[in-house]
Amino acid sequence: MIVELGHFTLILAFVFSVTQAAFGFTGAAAQRIDWINAAKIAALVQFLFTTLAFAALTYAYVTSDFSVRNVFENSHTLKPLIYKISGVWGNHEGSMLLWVLVLALFGAAVARFGGNLPSTLRARVLGVQALIGIAFLTFILATSNPFERIVPAPADGQGLNPLLQDPGLALHPPILYVGYVGFSVAFSFAIAALIEGNIDASWARWVRPWTLLAWSFLTGGIALGSWWAYYELGWGGWWYWDPVENASLMPWLVGTALLHSSIVVEKRNSLKSWTILLSILTFALSLIGTFLVRSGVLTSVHTFATDPDRGVFILAILCLAIGGGLALYAWRAPHLKGGRLFQPISREGGVLLNNLLLTTAAATVFLGTVYPLVLEVFNGSKISVGPPYFNATFVPLMAPLVAAVAVGPLLGWKRGDIAGALSRLKATALTAIIVFIFVAWTAGQNSVWAALGIFLAVWLAGGVLTELARKIGLSRKSPMESWRRLMRIPRSSWGMSLAHFGLAVFIIGATGLSFWKEEKIVLMQVSETAEIKDYRVTFNGVRDQKGPNYIARQAVFTIQHKDKEKFSMTAEKRRYPVSQQETTEAGIKSGWLEDLYIVIGTNDEKNGQTVRIYLMPLVGWVWMGVLIMVFGGLLSLTDRRFRIGVPERQKIAGPSPAE
């Protein structure tokens, strides 16, 4: 009964999104405030019904109602409760429902909290938001109904893919979706602004918090996925340039560009039509990401049951959203009023450089991801584009960007003083060069490239500190005055400093792991010892351990690191009887400077246990850097500017005086 109600409320949600779109657009066109309010209410009701539908599916999962096909195919009575819940989005239908739920959430948030938006703009934003909702609800109802029943109901389910039964991956989809779908708001604002033919500083001020929120969650979601790959797949890496990873990286890159260019619109009323274009592209890439990983074009853990109808449907949505958005842009953008001018060397110029590098990098990633698919369609040859391609294109584009990030915030708006900025960075440059020489000297193989990575990180971190010091007038003013100024730095500014600093930390981690990873494969008998760098790893044997729905073969090791106290580590192979599948649980001992990482392979009586031991230098810095970035984004979001005193739309939109 509850399941049928869920299906019914989902249909109601569809009806209300049609209502929302109709009232939104006509209300804005006819300037009827009652219609506009109706759109607002429809958005809230649509969210309510989508939530009910999602709750109904969750209920079916929690109570293990196997008469529902979706539950039967993806759940099992023996599964722990948390994975019964995460099973809701661990499959195609449920994940689409989650997608729509997040979309409705954002629509409702615009309706509820957009009180200070001009009413017609809000109505149009809600209208566009509803159109996206209509497309995806149609998709779910027509091709991917999660509430379908099977008669007779099977006794037990088929279980969730064991790889997905992991706390990190239980959270990965919802967080990533808040990121992906969050960019729909920027998209809707862009389309609404194009329809209105008006974009100004206050527009950017409304768009920015949504973009920030989406960006922070996307960053966190990608990191969570990457962290999972690190400890669960047991391949000893954190980023493989796999197409499904690239699918999330592309919207991140363009979204990061959008985050920066919207600042320029807000502060300087410039780069306006470019920002609109970025809003459209970011959401387009979010949709492409969804399409790539969900349609079965790529084979991966994200690919659920493939069905050609679904692929074609998503492709149609993609063409409508992207084609429609870009066509509207081509038609309306030339009518937008030009923004204020700036010199090539200025804060605006810096952001422009950032944007160009980020979008170009996104383009190279796009090419590397899509090229094999296109080539196969054209001449049938099957190729794969792997890490070497991305290392040779992405990294050279990112290196100058990172170098520029240190300088950009030191430049003034409109006309910057590059010589002044560089002279402020003297101390930073000196430190970075000393570190470069030190690393290149001591680090052995690949040392020049590794040293270059560390150099960039130090340069960037120094740039961030220099900018902070300048802001508080350190050494120019009295310590008291500096302290007072430090306390008065707005949170959005702290957010920027933190995010940039996090990037520096991340680069150190990524560099360390790329160049100094050590690994060893050994065959070990009980009580044998293997050495890697200054770790002595002793194998104590294997034991069987029973989990809630799996049986683990656990290998136990004792580790002696230099003269420190001994500690023990375990690495497992888990066997899930329901799906006849094995997973790897790496043993990881994390430290500030390196992780010791152990994976076990086959074990036979005669030869012993195959053990793969990695020494992962600085890998913790990767996650820490990303965490700092996410924290910076969220901190910036709490800036009072975004909460109170959002100004009324500017009355005078005429050109500002030439100088």
């Binding site: 790889l163 994200h302 001018l341 090539p344 110029g349 190279t364 040859s381 794969s384 050109p655 005086p657």
Partner: protein, 166 residues
């Protein structure tokens, strides 16, 4: 007065556009150069054992080989941490050797993709073994290769439906 100001503004706007365009084009050129350079030597082609027989592939080229792991062919090599197995597409086969830990889904009679280089016509040194399965336990490339060699069985491995890898 306003006229000259407006003129000045237009001129500045033009020069700003010019700089932006110049920067954009430089970036595009740079990216094109990087992409062309990278594509040339980092693309990895996929071949079935029959393709390997038909073509002459240099041992220097990094390639992917895919097919089924022949039943009864998987054994531990002399170095003990290495694995030997035979990849077959039903018509032709090639021996492969891999030093490392095989993915959890590696099994005899099931699909596999190995990346590495040919040592000679009969031996492939795998540097990486991928288990890229969908729920049918079969990598798409391998399925296509089997279809081509006429050894595709629609129901092969479709019982049980685990999925692996990202």
């Amino acid at each position: 007065m306003t006229d000259t100001l407006a003129l000045k503004r237009t001129r500045r706007q033009k020069s700003q556009r010019f700089y932006t365009l110049l920067l954009g084009l430089t970036m595009l050129g740079l990216a094109t150069a990087l992409v062309l350079n990278a594509l040339e030597d980092s693309i990895v082609f996929f071949y079935s054992p029959s393709d390997l027989r038909a073509r002459n592939i240099s041992p220097e080229q990094r390639i992917r080989v895919g097919g089924l792991v022949e039943l009864g062919s998987w054994k531990t090599a002399e170095s003990k941490t290495a694995h030997e197995f035979t990849v077959t597409d039903g018509k032709n086969k090639i021996n492969a050797i891999f030093n490392g830990i095989l993915p959890d889904l590696f099994r005899e009679g099931q699909g596999v993709i190995a990346e590495g280089r040919l040592k000679n016509e009969r031996l492939f040194i795998a540097e990486e073994v991928l288990a890229k399965h969908d729920e049918k336990y079969m990598p798409r490339e391998v399925a296509d290769a089997l279809k081509k060699s006429g050894h595709w069985n629609e129901n092969a491995g479709s019982d049980g439906n685990p999925k692996e890898t990202k």
